[in-house]
Symmetry: C2
Subunit: 491 residues, 2 copies
């Protein structure tokens, strides 16, 4: 099956395939904005959008019933670094010709206003670079080529050199530079060893780990476990990314650790509001309890997703008959649906659906058509998709209270001829609890001795007696409920 | 050992002790603001502060070296609901007499401005109550008696009735009302069954679960698993609490689920800035990209912790010789230390310490004196503190890859006379993998057959052979590393 993508996307994919020895396995085909691919009854056209990765596209899909526009992840950056503007004109043309369905990015549908331009980040970073007297460490997503570009440009302009940290950062920079998406100023990139020879105020480290991911370059530095880089007083660490929901704890841990090492740290929580106004305005905002970002402390990241005013513009350009909000949690999809209503796309024309739900659209009508299989496929080791609910629940139980396994051998008459032996993990520290385990063995034997001698000596039945005796004993002594695993052998 | 507290605090503690059959075990003694307890060389005085629980106090501890002021969790609410103002005057008097050390709450040390008054929440909630045409569900902390008070008062004023959901909510309301901390308007509290008989616009449910805690009343409602309450279109859910860091995911899940059921939801993310200004000002803020809270959408929670301007006031009232920021992550402690510097308390007078670090203070000097044992004591079932690093690490390993236990019986010559039998949890779904487990048994037997027949037949050695055979087999077939537990019996 062919896989289409823009040149940078495909280059990144190809590299990952190579790493996994799958370079030959995929049929990668390049598509560029305004180009069109025919696929059966569909004609698919790429449309330039801006996003936190360069070379992003949305899609216009011609179908026999009409045109479906899918924005992909997008924002409307009026001044992107590479001059590759979102293709407002093409979206408008499509709107003119008639769009049947619009699927549009909902990530920031609950944010009022416009999403800032990447250029603003450059200005904020410039202030920081100008003000920094020591080493600067910038953490961002390795895929955010424009952010990387800004750091390289600024470093070059301020007489600094840059070393790259983190595998994906090195890989992406190499690929993006080769393909011309990144202009690396002469001599600005140096290996870490060379950077180390420079005075601190000429050093920049560009690193992965903006979400505080364990084992990422930034997390290792924060934990003083990085082989080569030791964060110290005077360093300025800029986490140039938003906190992705769910990563609050890990980022918090990294930020605290960096502070502890004496570094100055800039990250999302330092500021909310971006104003460029006068001091009086800033003070007024502070007085109202707002966190304020102004000249001196302007924030070092803007989102890659369109805010409400941008999303409204997309509605107005494409003027769709039907609208399906995509990309976001339910609350974001709902906010986007409400936004649609605010520009006149009534609830009967909006399909607020989630993964697995189907919508059937004809030239004149649209309706929900039930559920389709969709969701996560878990990969564990070599197996794909065979880790089911039972296995996951068991792992959870094991994590909560550990496990006690009891093994014994019985003869045909049900007489215990060996054991019981007990092994446990995650339950108690065995070395300190030998006497208790001896007692447990006795409790098991006592329970078996009480069995009706005429009862069938079935391994399952013996196992059940053992399990219940072990559970009872442990509950009495510890008030805990480890997983109990009896293994009965027959001699 | 006597335990001192204000009347409400002790009543809540006593109730919990009763629940655990420990009512007789504790020597609880009441202390009130401006009262003093003598304890050895120390004299300890309670000082009224405001916080998100009523009846809060800070402490002034007279020591032979001088006075230590500990604020406890506090904010400076100039208009608390119960009229119990923070005791500005006493803090000032102490400052006048000379404070040796101030330990002050750092939770909001990175927030500019003043923390809002609880009264503002009442205004915001009033707008919501006035505007709601259906049932209202308010989730907050059961300990936040003033928030509960506001809901009861508002309900009564707007002709609504309130039912309480959640054990701790019912318990705390009962205790606070008995002690006179809560004034329950006549007839406003009704059992859930009675509430159900009223039209939706006369119903309020006051619930626990503001952090989306699993099994909390709100989480059960969101999951449609609550026995009696079914959230539906037209309901307004107000989460009147902040998102405590680390709870973002659970709250997000609850909010999404409530939206899915058709409810309107108000929670922290809906708004950041609280302004009471004109529309033009609001629009200006929106244009700047700020989230704005004004008349119609004012937020439904204020913090219980002092912000920067309040903290500065505390410095200026108490004028301490030394300062130790307490209560907060390192970044908050650091922000508080910097704030101290901004009011003239230099770094040599600030001890930025974390749990377990000691500071020795005399009349004229202060210095760090190393580390003391401090930290978490884990309680698991009946045991206190005996769950160590080994047990926890084992639980983690079990959670990641599950466990495979292999048992067999050998005779004195090392000949396998029974087994191997295999039992596993959290590894593969056994029923679908019988053939593989048979292969695994064969691999174990093969490994044992290869053992040097003259090698000693020690159970540990046999176990090691089994473990290594199982690991090898599983790694080959699955590329996974479950915990392998061999249990060798001797017949």
């Amino acid at each position: 099956m062919p896989v289409y993508g823009t040149p940078l996307t495909l280059a990144l994919v190809a590299e990952r395939l190579r790493e996994h020895g799958l370079a030959e396995a995929a049929d990668l085909r390049t598509i560029r904005p305004r180009e069109r691919v025919e696929a059966g009854p569909f004609g698919i056209e790429a449309i330039r959008v801006t996003h936190s990765i360069v070379d992003g596209i949305g899609l216009a899909i011609d179908t026999p019933a009409g045109t479906v526009v899918h924005t992909g992840d997008f924002k409307l950056d009026p001044s992107p670094l590479d001059g590759e503007l979102p293709d407002y004109r093409r979206f408008a043309e499509l709107g003119e010709q008639g769009v049947l369905v619009l699927c549009s990015d909902s990530t920031n549908a609950d944010r009022p206003g416009h999403t800032g331009s990447e250029v603003e980040v450059g200005q904020a970073l410039a202030t920081r670079f100008d003000g920094a007297s020591g080493r600067i460490i910038v953490a961002t997503f390795a895929s955010h080529i424009h952010r990387v570009q800004q750091v390289l440009t600024l470093a070059s302009r301020t007489g600094r050199r840059v070393a790259l940290l983190g595998m994906s950062m090195q890989r992406n920079v190499t690929i993006a530079a080769e393909l011309g998406y990144l202009r690396v100023p002469d001599g600005v990139l140096v290996p870490l060893e060379e950077l180390d020879d420079l005075p601190a105020h000429r050093q920049v480290i560009l690193s992965t780990g903006s979400q505080g991911e364990p084992h990422s370059a930034l997390a290792l530095m924060a934990a003083e476990e990085h082989k080569y880089v030791h964060v110290e007083r005077g360093d300025l660490v800029i986490i140039s990314a938003r906190v992705i929901p769910g990563h609050e704890r890990t980022i918090s841990r990294v930020v605290n650790a960096l502070y502890r090492l004496g570094a100055e740290v800039l990250y999302e929580d330092n500021a909310f509001v971006h104003v460029s106004g006068h001091a009086s305005q800033v003070n007024a905002l502070y007085r109202l309890g707002a966190e304020v970002l102004y000249e001196d402390n302007a924030f070092v990241h803007v989102s890659g997703h369109a805010s409400q005013e941008d999303l409204k513009l997309m509605f107005n350009l494409t003027r769709p008959r039907y609208f399906i909000p995509v990309h976001g949690e339910y609350r974001h999809l709902l906010a986007h649906a409400r936004l649609a209503e605010s520009v006149g796309i009534g609830p009967d024309r909006v399909f607020l659906i989630e993964d697995g739900m189907g919508v059937e659209v004809s030239k004149t009508t649209a309706r929900l058509v039930g559920r389709f299989p969709a969701g996560r496929v878990l990969v564990d080791g070599k197996s794909v998709g065979d880790i089911g609910a039972v296995v996951l629940r068991d792992r959870q139980l094991l994590a909560e209270d550990g496990l006690v396994a009891v093994s014994l051998a019985v003869d045909r008459d049900g007489v215990v001829v060996a054991g019981p032996e007990i092994a446990s993990r995650g339950f108690v520290y065995v070395k300190e609890n030998e006497p208790l385990l001896e007692e447990l063995k006795k409790a098991v034997l006592a329970a078996l001795a009480e069995r009706d001698p005429d009862a069938p000596c079935d391994r399952d039945l013996v196992g059940a007696t053992v399990r219940s005796a072990v559970r009872h004993f442990i509950n009495q002594r510890f008030r805990r409920k480890p997983v109990v695993l009896p293994i009965i052998l027959e001699v």
